[in-house]
């Protein structure tokens, strides 16, 4: 029983970290229609910045600062903001598939930088000894993980609450107007490029926060953690949960990650040992199949965007 609780705490922490990244992507795609195919770039920037700021000095690495955890989190968000601003200014003119290609290229670039800038990131050997906040105050692993879950949950609630306010504000309505019909929004005097850039940067900051939480939760990052598959997973979470709906983004993270790990448990429980080596392929098929079924029957996601009707109508 205690083991199940311990696993669930761990599982939910991962879900919420993905959920935060998913909320960031939802602001970009779900509300503004900015096609960011380089989610993992900002996730990686957040994770590495956090690692560099908080890890204790190491003779092999040039910049380990050993600063407190909150500084690491804020620094990670600032670095993601800066990166998104540079990328955004260069690419915000691009739309749809063009932007997707550009951001995908940036994700690959960031991954290669983490692999090659060895004196800063540890390169292919990875970055070890990332401290966990207040780890000294807990004697058990479980009690610590519960504390960390609380921390991540607090961050999730904060991000969710802020986003809910933001997207319901006049600013959020402009984002949706741009998503629906950019020409019409521009005709109303809105600077679509500026709004798209703002949404892109803000979303990336949130994704960077998720990256920082990932680094301090696992205690180790390597370029191997930031392959394009992660972008794909976070996109899947958003599409399954319902893009344009923040609750959908969080639900999607829970469902998709639950499916990913639950199907592994199922395969190892159900199949006899002699078929288990082939069973993993069945797991991949199962994941794919369920995603397809979900999209066929719920094309707008499990909780799609709420229809917005003016309260003056009817």
């Amino acid at each position: 029983m205690i083991g199940i609780v311990s696993y669930l705490v761990f599982f939910l922490t991962v879900v919420l970290i993905f959920g935060i990244a998913c909320l960031g992507l939802n602001l970009q795609w779900g509300f503004t229609g900015v096609f960011n195919a380089g989610v993992v770039a900002f996730y990686a920037i957040g994770a590495y910045t956090h690692a560099i700021i908080t890890a204790p000095p190491n003779p092999l690495l040039i910049a380990n600062l050993g600063l407190p955890w909150p500084v690491g989190v804020l620094g990670a968000m600032a670095a993601a903001a800066l990166a998104a601003l540079i990328v955004g200014i260069a690419t915000v003119r691009l739309r749809g598939d063009y932007l997707a290609i550009a951001t995908f290229g940036i994700a690959v670039t960031v991954q290669l930088i983490t692999l090659n800038w060895q004196s800063l990131t540890g390169g292919s050997l990875g970055f070890t000894s990332i401290p966990r906040p207040l780890a000294g105050y807990f004697d058990g692993q479980l009690s610590y993980n519960i504390f960390f879950l609380g921390l991540v949950a607090a961050a999730t609630v904060l991000v969710y609450w802020a986003l809910e306010r933001v997207v319901r504000s006049p600013w959020g309505r402009v984002l949706r107007a741009i998503r629906e019909d950019e020409t019409a929004a521009v005709a109303l005097g809105k600077d679509a490029r500026l709004f798209r850039l703002q949404a892109f940067v803000l979303g990336s900051v949130i994704i960077g926060l998720a990256g920082a939480l990932h680094a301090s939760f696992i205690g180790f990052v390597s370029p191997f953690d930031f392959l394009p598959i992660l972008t794909f997973q976070i996109w899947t979470m958003l599409i399954v949960g319902g893009s344009g709906n923040n609750r959908g983004a969080l639900l999607g993270a829970l469902i998709v990650w639950g499916l990913w790990s639950g199907s592994g448990v199922l395969v190892s429980k159900v199949l006899p040992p002699e078929f288990q080596t082939q069973g993993a392929a069945a797991q991949s098929i199962l994941i794919g199949l369920l995603l397809v079924v979900m999209l066929v029957f719920k094309p707008r996601g499990l909780i799609g965007e709420e229809p917005v009707v003016s309260r003056h109508v009817g």
Binding site: V5, Y7, L112, I146, S222
Partner: protein, 424 residues
């Protein structure tokens, strides 16, 4: 959202109430569970499936040979899909929900490392891998962060790097350029090669890391040539290795090549042209011979109708057998007890036990009588050093008239002497 929050808080609350009683009671119930995490799908899937079969074969042998403390072993295999988050999640599930007593896995260092730092080391569960080569594991063991819970049954790149440096020094190469693949394998190899070369009186005059699968490596080759070296050390896989070797030759570099084990391939020799490689030599882990190795190979062949030559197959068998033996020796099945017992399968005064169910049964009987054992496995004797790494015999290969040949072999004893000479 409200439901999700409720679930989150509810779980946290429930756990908080129960936390004080989180004493890790070790049940001695049958069956004894051992976890396995290997890449069964994804880019390493083809390799991983065979490795998983080898692990299953080992646990079959363990069960036929009497199991663990009279209990059969239940081997729970999970796929990491080559993804760190998936591997970590599977490891956490195995350790917390299934309560496995030990874990074997995985292949990629990028997956094995986060499992170690976030699951097995904090939970005090022994993790033995067949295939992860990163030097980071050694560093974590030295700094105490892994708590001694990590072991691996494949010789680290250190064995190859030290032996290569030794031969370079014997051949009188003083100024060596290094061009290496930018992975944990390449980086680790070069670090150890540098240490050893410096100790043996040589010098690394240039080093260039490269990213795989590029059409040309002229930039890297020029970095090497600019330093005017006596010889060059390529750490690469055959296709990239052939590209850069051809460029090196066409730009007039000295034809004294030191090659890593992956280049011991007819494809490489053919692509470069054998006539240019008469002064080349390379290093490989010598596949140890002997009855225990043959017994394993025959058993694998008989069971799966496939050769046991692939990467990781023999080392995975040893990883599983080490777990089986150590758990039998351990006074109880707690993590620390198993960790300490891993050290006791290699008693110099012990009776030799090998591979296969009969040998395992023999080991169990010896352990029951309190007698020491010495495990000689599918890769020969498995001797862990203080950091959980193993040493292995090395082989120097060369190329004469376009044919791969063996120049000489360095036994484990030679290698241990070399390690002492270099590390002091």
């Amino acid at each position: 959202m409200r439901n999700l929050l409720g679930l989150t808080l509810g779980t946290a609350l429930a756990a908080a109430i129960m936390a004080p009683s989180a004493v890790y009671a070790q049940d001695a119930e049958c069956p004894v569970k051992v976890g396995g995490i290997l890449p069964l799908t994804g880019s390493m899937g083809a390799v991983g499936e065979r490795i998983a079969e080898s692990a299953q074969l080992a646990f079959e042998h363990i069960n036929e040979g009497g199991g663990i403390k009279g209990c059969p072993v239940e081997f729970l295999l999970r796929d990491d899909q080559g993804q760190p988050t998936v591997g970590v999640d599977a490891a956490k599930f195995l350790v917390e929900v299934e309560r496995v007593s030990a874990l074997t896995g995985t292949v990629s260092s990028g997956v094995s490392l986060p499992i170690l730092t976030s699951v097995t080391a904090p939970s005090e569960v022994v993790q033995i891998t067949c295939c992860s080569t990163a030097a980071t594991f050694t560093a974590l063991a030295e700094s105490g962060e892994s708590g001694g819970y990590f072991f691996r049954t494949l010789p680290t790149v250190k064995t190859q790097a030290y032996a290569s440096a030794k031969v370079a020094s014997d051949r009188g190469y003083k100024r060596i350029a290094v061009i290496y693949v930018n992975t944990d394998f390449g980086t680790g190899m070069v670090e150890y090669f540098k240490t050893a070369t410096a100790k043996l009186g040589g010098e690394i005059v240039a080093e260039a890391a490269f990213n795989e699968n590029q059409p040309s490596y002229r930039a890297e080759v020029n970095v090497g040539l600019a330093a005017n070296p006596d010889a060059v050390f390529f750490v690469a896989f055959p296709q990239d290795g052939a590209t850069m070797t051809r460029e090196w030759i066409s730009l007039g570099g000295p034809q004294n090549f030191i090659l890593n084990n992956a280049l011991r391939s007819p494809d490489y020799v053919e692509a470069v042209g054998g006539q240019y490689l008469n002064n080349a030599y390379g290093m490989d882990n010598a596949s140890a011979g002997g009855p225990t190795v043959d017994a394993f190979r025959d058993a694998f062949q008989a069971k799966y109708d496939a050769s046991a030559d692939g990467p990781g197959i023999a080392t995975q068998y040893d990883a599983a057998m080490v777990i089986g033996l150590a758990m039998n020796i351990a006074p109880d099945l707690s993590g620390p007890a198993i960790r300490d017992s891993v050290r006791m399968i290699q008693d110099p005064d012990g009776t030799v036990v090998g591979t296969g169910p009969e040998e395992f049964a023999k080991a169990v009987a010896l352990i029951k009588d309190g007698k020491p054992i010495r495990y000689v496995g599918a890769t020969g004797p498995v001797i862990f050093d203080a950091n959980g790494d193993v040493n292995g015999a090395a082989l120097i290969w060369n190329i004469k008239d376009g044919e791969l040949g063996v120049e000489n072999t360095l036994t484990i004893e030679d290698m241990n002497a070399l390690f002492t000479e270099i590390d002091g």
